[in-house]
Subunit: 400 residues, 2 copies
């Protein structure tokens, strides 16, 4: 194993520069490169040409492979005949592997991507929350270990590296701590683009995870975070780019964009852990997290894995305030209202018994102070998902 | 979790193109791009500007971070007071984390790097063997799960991608199968450079791993694979580059280089699993695997972790035939005889009781058909390692 590179400077102190002595995200000031002795023009997001979904290989190409992997699994199932737990996870958010030790199984996931916000500390937090989210989507609330995967951009000066990498690592480790787990190692390499990600691993009893294949007719769909993170992140970058900004300035103010950007960072860095815990309390029938393939992409994937002949119909789209208008002003570029806009570290999309859904939403808001929304229903069908023609857009928050 | 990208073509058949119907590596033909409908000039190694150690962040920078991580651990040790097993692994090959479940612990490692051979299938096997090697270095012989991490180069044509990526994946998965484990998922992104790596995870009883801190005066050091993989890989690339080739053609023939290259691929793709199993049989006092920081770098790291006041003295350097001469002809470029030449998926460097070492070497040769060598001794000292002034170079194999 190799270990993350960094200078041993006090990254904690550095990480607190924007905290104004207050760790609450709400009061966190924007990342100020100058305060860290970097050029005012420093932008972390410039260390990669791709962001969000664009760094993913297309879903159809992936699904082809999933088939070929699935075959390998059927073979392996034979080896696991003596084990009660089937191998699952292909095409789902985590892999679940039966272990040699009494009834336990290994739930594991990995993810990494490129910088999409300019605050290195927040980028680290978001990357960690994003990796953990795959566990939470399976209803797993305890993570036993994390590894960090970092690529240090060849284009970074030594000074930039020595400021940015410790901040990213600190953010990642702070989120891990918040999740009740820790980072015991990882790998860092030099790479043209800056890459950030990790591995999350849990060893648990089968009753600790929820196989997301149990939706039934009459269930409703709950979403635990608003959409529009990618739109907000892009709009914020356009503040530096007059020609792009001119395309949206008629529908949104600079302050709207800054607020949306901070809401997006707040949302992306939020753990889906309580959402996962409540899935057990309210008997969720399955869940996935909304990330690179957008709400509809992940909804379709979840629908395709259902045991029952059901399909998902989505009526409501909660979106970070003003970002729906921005998306419209950009024509088809984001496909936000079509459900294709990539999200990073998005919310959980959960199938809940109708009579439990309202209580779930009320409970999560009580515990977290964040809203969740009933966005659709589960009806009889052929394991597909769709958004109705004129979905209702819910501005989040309703007003400032 | 995302999944490896690939077209669902029959990568197995493709992988067998060079097999001549015989899966034995010895009889494997060189990778032929044309046989896969690629340009004759296709070279996988051209999809990254860095190779071997150069993709690593310098060891001194890493060690600084290791300190800062170590602090986090001491804190966590408090949380684990009730657990008999201490958290270890920082600066070692794996992390070991106590679990919530009866006395079990999680042993985990990750590694990824850039293509260093031009045969995609072999590259996949080498990457897998390299990740697993960290487990084997801790004496762990069973791997419960693997994840694959792939970066598809933005410079690859779609055709190249569709040929190369499935071959890499097949090689990786074949090695995992050979190791008695399987790949249940991973992540694939698009990246300027092609990257290949993975995660290896084991859940085991404390008696299944060997904490590598128990060397005592009088022990001897055994190495299970020859050095010089990096030299062989570079020399082979120089066959295409007259100006580089001219620097070494006086000391080595083209056939020598091709033989060395295939020995290197054979060696790098070989699992250290039997070497790990025999560590238990012959009461090894500790071990590490020789990779990016070279023999001396890893020997020094292992020495620094010893409980007793010992140091390591290395007298013998087993080197792939003719590669010592090539290294000398290149002046200080490789620092092979100084112990600094990076290796990929190198052998285990093991501290064994003197009276057991010969039996260990005989046993591994009997089981694997590959030699291991006693290369040094453990004496009283300050936890450092050194190579004597005029080490004896052992040509491997002695003759053809």
């Amino acid at each position: 194993m190799s270990y993350q590179s960094s200078v041993a400077q006090d990254s904690l102190a550095a990480a607190q520069l924007e905290m104004a002595g207050n760790p609450s995200l709400a009061l966190r000031r924007p990342f100020d490169p100058v305060a860290h002795d970097l050029e005012a023009s420093f932008r972390l997001t410039r260390f990669a040409d791709l962001k969000g979904r664009s760094c993913k290989v297309p879903q159809d190409v992936l699904s082809k492979l999933v088939e070929s992997l699935q075959q390998d699994y059927s073979q392996q199932d034979d080896q696991f005949m003596h084990v009660a737990i089937p191998r699952i996870g292909i095409g789902l958010d985590c892999s679940v592997t039966p272990l040699r030790h009494g009834g336990l199984c290994l739930v594991q996931t990995t993810d990494f991507f490129y910088p999409l916000v300019d605050d290195p500390y927040m980028m680290g937090k978001i990357a960690c929350a994003n990796v953990l989210s795959d566990l939470y989507a399976m209803g797993v609330t305890e993570c036993d270990n994390m590894l960090m995967l970092l690529g240090v951009s060849t284009k970074m000066t030594e000074k930039e590296r020595d400021v940015v990498i410790p901040l990213i690592m600190r953010g990642f480790k702070d989120s891990a701590l918040e999740a009740g787990t820790s980072v015991t190692g990882g790998q860092t390499v030099i790479n043209p683009w800056c890459t950030i990600g990790g591995v999350a691993t849990t060893i648990c009893q089968p009753n600790e995870y929820i196989v997301p294949d149990n939706a039934v007719m009459g269930d409703v769909l709950v979403l635990t975070k608003p959409l529009g993170t990618q739109v907000a992140v892009n709009a914020h970058q356009w503040l530096d780019q007059p020609e792009r900004w001119n395309r949206i300035k008629l529908v949104v103010s600079e302050e709207d964009v800054r607020k949306a950007y901070h809401r997006a960072m707040d949302s992306m860095s939020r753990l889906n852990r309580i959402a996962a815990r409540l899935m057990h309390k309210y008997n969720a029938h399955g869940s996935t997290d909304v990330t690179g393939f957008g709400l509809l992409g992940h909804a379709q994937n979840l629908a395709s894995h259902q045991k029952n002949e059901v399909s998902f119909v989505i009526h409501n789209l909660p979106v970070i305030a003003k970002m729906a208008a921005v998306a419209k002003a950009c024509g088809n570029m984001f496909q936000l209202l079509q459900g294709h806009a990539p999200e990073t570290s998005g919310g959980l999309l959960i199938c809940l018994p109708r009579e439990q859904a309202a209580a779930y939403c009320k409970d999560i808001e009580k515990q977290e102070g964040y809203q969740a929304w009933i966005i659709g229903i589960v009806e009889k069908g052929n394991r597909t998902a769709r958004i109705i023609d004129k979905p209702r857009v819910i501005e989040v928050p309703a007003k400032d």
